[in-house]
């Protein structure tokens, strides 16, 4: 197998792994909405914290993106 084709296959595999972080983020956002429904008074604070939490959960997908650009 040539190096170029192996490199392209590796790039494809790194893109696939980002799907799992989407599952985690969806779970997190669902839990945040549930908490907002239980206690509508703290909606703004919950939304801000949720955005920060989503950015944290996104970080593994960002590592995969960086690996994609390095390969």
């Amino acid at each position: 197998m040539e190096v170029e084709s192996a490199r392209l296959i590796a790039k494809g595999i790194t893109t696939l792994t980002m799907g799992l972080s989407a599952v985690g983020e969806g779970y997190l956002i669902g839990k945040a909405f549930e908490a907002m429904g239980r206690n509508p008074d703290i909606q703004d604070a919950l939304f801000t914290r949720m955005i920060i939490g989503v950015a944290m959960a996104e970080s593994t997908a960002i590592y995969a993106l960086v690996a994609f650009f390095i390969i």
């Binding site: 970080s59 590592y63 960086v66």
Partner: protein, 292 residues
């Protein structure tokens, strides 16, 4: 006709390009953007300092809103006002620096200024050297805080928990085995410090670099309308990433303070102290069911 809808440009490379060399020291385009940022900040500080009034004007009120917002979140994370006031100069500086670095990369037209083929400006935080330096400096600061709170022996004792193993085995076999488990977890804490450096730097770098690259890719696809969507998404990502970086450092700082010192200050007026009560005994259910 195809070229009417697209704008083809080279994808920004992973490493920033050297624009010129100064006494053998290469100056890259992200360094030049950093100098621009420092110049903007210095000029803004001088102007604001001269125009500061007790009753604020419009610009000063906006800045005070930002100050109150960031200080409120830092106070919430650290849990006490005194610790928040100690750490806030660092966190505030970090916040302003990273926010302006991220936003400077979004100013339209800056990336098309080029000298001899290489672009002159580039988002400072889209260069891995900048984010790595920030992350290493912050993690070293956290270690220094931990050493200054307890002694050097206490700091090393967090990672190599020999005393707890000795004490655990003196109590009994089961608590001794738990202490051995905690010993290995303490060794893993060394790895987690390195993981903090890697995760902090890579998260900020990845978001900003991917923003730059995807802007070029989208411009190569459709140059009208669609890049505006991506630019607004990048604006949100710029603000969110600065918040994540700064407040994560605040959370690490709160965790690396010795546990007793984050409780040992006197009560501030806005804190409520609920003492830990111990409820002993068993509530008999049948007593609650009888109607008296």
């Amino acid at each position: 006709m195809e070229d009417f809808f697209r704008l083809k440009r080279a994808i920004t490379p992973l490493e920033s390009e050297t624009v010129f060399s100064l006494f053998g020291f290469p100056i890259n385009n992200s360094t030049i953007t950093l100098f621009l940022l420092i110049a903007i900040l210095v000029v803004a500080s001088i102007v604001l300092f001269k125009k500061a009034r007790v009753i604020p004007g419009v610009f000063q009120s906006v800045l005070e809103i930002f100050y109150e917002a960031v200080f409120g979140v830092v106070q919430q994370i650290t849990g006490s006002k005194k610790a928040a006031e100690r750490i806030f100069p660092l966190i505030g500086t970090l916040f302003v620096f990273i926010l302006l670095s991220n936003l400077l990369g979004l100013v339209p037209g800056l990336s098309s200024i080029s000298i001899a083929g290489t672009p002159l400006f580039r988002t400072p935080t889209s260069d891995f050297n900048t984010t790595f330096a920030l992350a290493v400096a912050m993690v070293l600061f956290l270690q220094a805080v931990s050493i200054s709170e307890t002694s050097v022996r206490g700091y090393l004792g967090k990672f190599f928990q020999f005393a707890q193993v000795y004490r655990g085995f003196k109590e009994g076999i089961s608590s001794g085995l738990i202490a051995v488990l905690n010993f290995f977890i303490g060794l893993l804490d060394i790895v987690s410090e390195l993981a903090k450096v890697v995760s902090l730097s890579l998260r900020l770098f990845g978001n900003m670099f991917a923003g730059d690259v995807l802007a070029v890719v989208i411009l190569g696809g459709v140059a009208y309308g669609l890049p505006a969507l991506w630019m607004s998404m990048n604006l949100l990502a710029a603000v969110v990433q600065t918040m994540v970086f700064s407040f994560l450092i605040t959370a690490y700082y709160t965790m690396s303070l010795a546990p007793k010192s984050s409780r040992s200050e006197e009560m501030q007026e806005d804190e409520i102290y609920i003492p830990a009560t111990r409820i002993e005994g068993v509530i008999d259910n049948r007593e609650l069911l009888t109607v008296k």
